[in-house]
Each structure stands twice: as C-alpha cells, then as structure tokens.
C-alpha cells in the first residue's frame, strides 16, 4: 500500500473528527441501550481535515499527484496524521487546491479512515 508523502507536513490547525457508529435506543425517561454492530474498532473511523498552507507549487503538485494516482487506482493509502502515534489507512474523497499567490498554493484535503488490508 502506498504511503502518503510525509513532507511537507500539514499546517495547524488540524481537525480530527470521530463519530462512532453506535446504535443507541433511548426513549423519554432517559435510560438508553447502546450496542455496536460489527467490531467496535471499525465503527469509529477517524476523519482528518488537513491543510497545507502556502506550500510551493512543486510541493503541492507532488501531493496532488499522489492523490490523483489513488483516485485512479481506487486504493487506500497509509498516513501518520499530525500528533498520531501510528499510521492509519485512509481514503481521500475530495481535496481542494487554491492558488492565492504566484508560485504558492494551499491544499486542503479530507482523509477518512478505512479498514482494509
């Protein structure tokens, strides 16, 4: 599995979103039942919103070329997100590149964790 380039590092702030797919049944008096369907570790995929601010055009091309290649082969990739201890498997459903200054670019991307070998 391909690894996402480690340089340049994304700029802060980085947003990490978790929303476990837990089934909750709760009616008005308040006591609730919670249960997972499927392995719990796989019901909590992480979603990272990453930004590479003001990187050079060639750096952004390298990152974008990687994401384009993953869009073509449909494969997931490994990446160690900022402040994470280990790498995870991700897909990148969408990303944006904005070119605000000549020769500089800002890339924003959403990485969603997937569970596949």
């Amino acid at each position: 599995m391909a690894a996402f380039p480690t340089t340049p590092q994304p700029s802060f702030p980085v947003r990490k979103k978790s929303s476990p797919k837990i089934r909750t049944i709760k009616f008005q008096d308040g006591y609730e039942h919670r249960i997972f369907f499927g392995l719990p570790e796989h019901q909590n995929p992480k979603e990272f919103s990453l930004t590479w601010k003001n990187i050079t055009e060639s750096e952004s091309d390298a990152l974008e070329a990687f994401l384009d290649a993953r869009a073509l082969d449909g494969a997931s990739f490994t990446y160690t997100a900022p402040n994470e201890s280990s790498s995870m498997n991700f897909k990148c459903p969408n990303w944006n590149k904005s070119m605000d200054f000549p020769g500089r670019a800002t890339l924003t991307a959403t990485f969603i964790e997937v569970f596949e070998p």
């Binding site: 919670r34 249960i35 997972f36 369907f37 499927g38 392995l39 719990p40 796989h42 569970f115």
Partner: protein
C-alpha cells in the same frame, strides 16, 4: 455443529454488551446450481461478512471458517401477523462477482438465478470470535467460543429481485413458503393406509 445460545443471552443482558457480529452464508445446490458431481470443484458455499477483522484487516474467522470481506446487508426478518417473513438481502455487485456466480448458475439451470439456494444469517458477538481475528492472536473482549450464537436464520432464495452494476438483491423465503411447495409433502388417505381416521376414539 453445536450451537449454544446461553453465552450470547447472558452477554446481551449486560449493561454494555459485546458488539454483535453478523455473518452470512450462501449454500448452493449441487445438481441445480452446480453441475452434478461438481466436476470443476466449484465452491458450494460462500461466506460473507460486511467487514474485516482487527488482525491486519484480514477476513473475519468464525468457528475456523473464513468469512470474506464483502458489502452485504439483509433486512426484513421480522415476523408479523402470522406470515413467514420474506427478508431481502443486498450484496455488492460492483466488481461483478455476484453476476459471475449467477451466470455460472444459469448455465447449469437456465433462468434459475440461485433460486433454492440456502441463505443463512449467523449472529454472534465480538467476544466469542476466534482469537486469530485479533492482534497478537488473543481476543481482548473475552474468551473465544465457537458454539456461542444467536439462533441461526435459515432461508431459501425465492427470486432475484434486482441485479444491476451496484448490487444484486435476493428475496428470501422460508423453506415451506416456496412456490409449488405444499405441507404436508404428501397427503395420505385410507386407500393407502386403512387405519387412518380410526385412532381418535
């Protein structure tokens, strides 16, 4: 095959029970879906689970059987007003796997579309899964128990309701609810067995 309901029933009554794991099998009939005698040694039983395990995201292993990672969901198992439920199962056809199976089945019995194949839903819990599903080959949730299952739901494929590029959908039915199947299978009259009707004195 032994199935013991007690471990799952006591687990599900806890405050925070272990996660429910849903597994599916599709069993084909040799002679109807596969050429008689299975000369090509095709698989007669397919195992599906809509997820991967925690050991490098491999396939889920339940009672030493491998359940392939495959998008699959089934619904409509509820009993209501005395009718036998007709659940629907949707299986991904994005890679054409199901169409390939259907094509091979229809080459044996034209127009069969897997009718009469046996579809089973197995439900167990994460804590009873085989140790091989977890990193370090040890189940962190509890002790593996290959006999701990909810009641198996065994249905027969009645018809293929959808086949497109995305999914294949089957409508399932109870084994006595098939078209052309009657219960009892044979009616017995006094001409066959003279003492019929003489017992209830």
């Amino acid at each position: 095959m032994t199935i013991n309901h007690d471990p799952v029933f006591s687990e599900i009554q806890k405050i925070n029970p272990s996660a429910i794991i849903e597994l599916f099998t599709l069993e084909l009939v040799v002679g109807q879906h596969i050429a008689t005698g299975n000369p090509q040694s095709l698989p007669t039983k397919y195992y599906f689970h809509s997820g991967s395990n925690l050991n490098a995201n491999g396939v889920i292993v339940w009672a030493t059987e491998l359940y392939q990672r495959f998008p699959i969901q089934a619904s409509g198992f509820k009993y209501q007003r005395g009718k036998i439920p007709r659940p629907r199962v949707q299986i991904s056809n994005a890679f054409g796997n199901m169409s390939a199976i259907l094509e091979s089945v229809n080459s044996i019995t034209p127009g069969n579309d897997l009718t009469n194949a046996t579809f089973t839903r197995i439900k167990t819990m994460a804590r009873f899964l085989d140790a091989v599903n977890f990193p370090g080959n040890s189940n962190p949730y509890g002790t593996p128990d290959p006999t701990a299952e909810f009641k198996r739901q065994v249905y027969t494929v009645d018809r293929k309701s959808i086949e497109n590029r995305d999914i294949v959908e089957f409508e399932l039915t109870g084994s006595i609810d098939m078209a052309g199947v009657k219960a009892p299978g044979r009616q017995c009259t006094r001409s066959l067995f003279p003492s019929i009707g003489t017992f209830n004195q």
